[in-house]
Amino acid sequence: MFKIMFSNWDALLSGLGYTLMASVIALIASLIIGTAFALMEISLHKWVRVIGKAYVEFIRNIPLLVIAMAFYVIVPQFIMQMDGFTAGTIGLTIYTSAFIAETVRAGIQSVPNGQMEGARSNGLSYMQAMTHVVFPQAIKLVIPPLGNQFINLVKNSSVLAFVAGFDLMYQGKLIANATFNTFDTYLAVGVLYLVITMPMSYAMRYLEKRWHTA
């Protein structure tokens, strides 16, 4: 395993780089999109709520692979050029945004209603009350699940291997094919995934415990 790791260090490292890049981009983008849909889901207008809910329910029930493949295969045929990394990252973003929307919505709704009412009666607008009063309280509840979403993103970004997205899994497949040493290659790839995900996972558990008891 170590032999494979050292002799293919450049390829593995670049794969890890693409994996992390896809995960970080998708996390930020899905945080924005997810929060927008979370706000739609709790909107005061019925139709906005319906649209928000429909998006979340639809995306949550479809495999990530199907979404990523659709972007890779369909978009370039009809709309525009799109490489595997881009298609995969967009797929990851859309998929994850639905889960983040649920997390953020639950976080916001767990802040007691009285907080919003109190802020409003003190003369704050709905938006002001949201950003100054509700969000800061919701964020503590939301951070650990968001951390877990990031771990999921790192793991899920392996679907980039299906669309030639240069990620860690893709590089692993190429190395396995070049060296014929499948077992050791995937062991090395596994270790590299764990180097990212394990510390994250323990850190999130620690935060959850601490903030839960606080």
Binding site: L65, V66, K155, N156, T182, G190
Partner: protein, 217 residues
């Protein structure tokens, strides 16, 4: 439009449905086994037996933090090394079960943890043994609360079966790929079909869970 009509020919549809059947088959069997194993692992992690629980916990964490894609590859190619030649369906079930058991173990551990400690103490002081109390008092309460996260994990499992296309499991996504691989005009109709079929199965699961959850709580 013509593409849609041609793409949904009886031949193609029946091929897709055969794929859906494999998806459901693999999902149901994996759900069954991973629920059993996940419950045992979850309890093992909760009861804190010296060393044993810690080791179990570490292995669970390792598996949870790896991409399923990697586990699928590993299982399929590594099983013959211990003398087992499994065809692709059982091999996929083994890989899915290993992964999902670890995911479920975490859910079940925290579910049991959420039952107030007083419940156990009360049951014990009423003369129940530890295992009686666990089986008759704690677990039923824990499962009641766990239905939403459990079912959403099951939905993940159904979606995750699509990843087994990497070892050529003849499930829904792979069958769709074969159809549009042979005629590029069928790409959009096939993706629409995939979205609809996965949505129906998973939405049914989540509606079912909401009904059960509502009845129990």
């Amino acid at each position: 439009m013509q593409n849609f009509i041609n793409a949904y020919s009886a031949v193609n549809l029946s091929y897709l449905l055969r794929g859906l059947w494999v998806t459901i088959e693999v999902s149901v069997v994996s759900i069954f086994f991973s629920f059993l194993i996940g419950t045992l692992l979850g309890i093992a992690r909760y009861v804190k037996i010296k060393y044993f629980s810690a080791i179990v916990g570490f292995i669970i964490d390792l598996i949870r933090n790896l991409p399923l894609l990697l586990l699928l590859f590993f299982t399929y190619f590594a099983l013959p090394n211990i003398g087992l030649r499994l065809s692709v369906i059982p091999a996929s079930i083994v890989a899915m079960t290993v992964f999902e058991s670890a995911m479920l173990a975490e859910i079940i551990r925290s579910g049991i943890g959420a039952v107030p400690v007083g419940q156990m103490e009360a049951a014990r002081s009423n003369g129940m043994s530890y295992s009686q109390a666990m089986l008759q008092i704690i677990l039923p309460q824990a499962f009641k609360k766990m239905i939403p996260p459990l079912v959403s994990q099951f939905i993940s499992l159904v979606k995750d079966t699509s990843l087994a296309t990497i070892i050529l499991l003849p499930e829904l996504t792979q069958h769709a790929q074969i159809i549009y691989g042979q005629n590029v005009n069928y790409t959009i109709p096939m993706f629409v079909a995939l979205a609809v079929l996965y949505f129906i199965v998973n939405y049914a699961l989540s509606v079912g869970s909401r009904i059960i959850d509502h009845r129990l709580n």
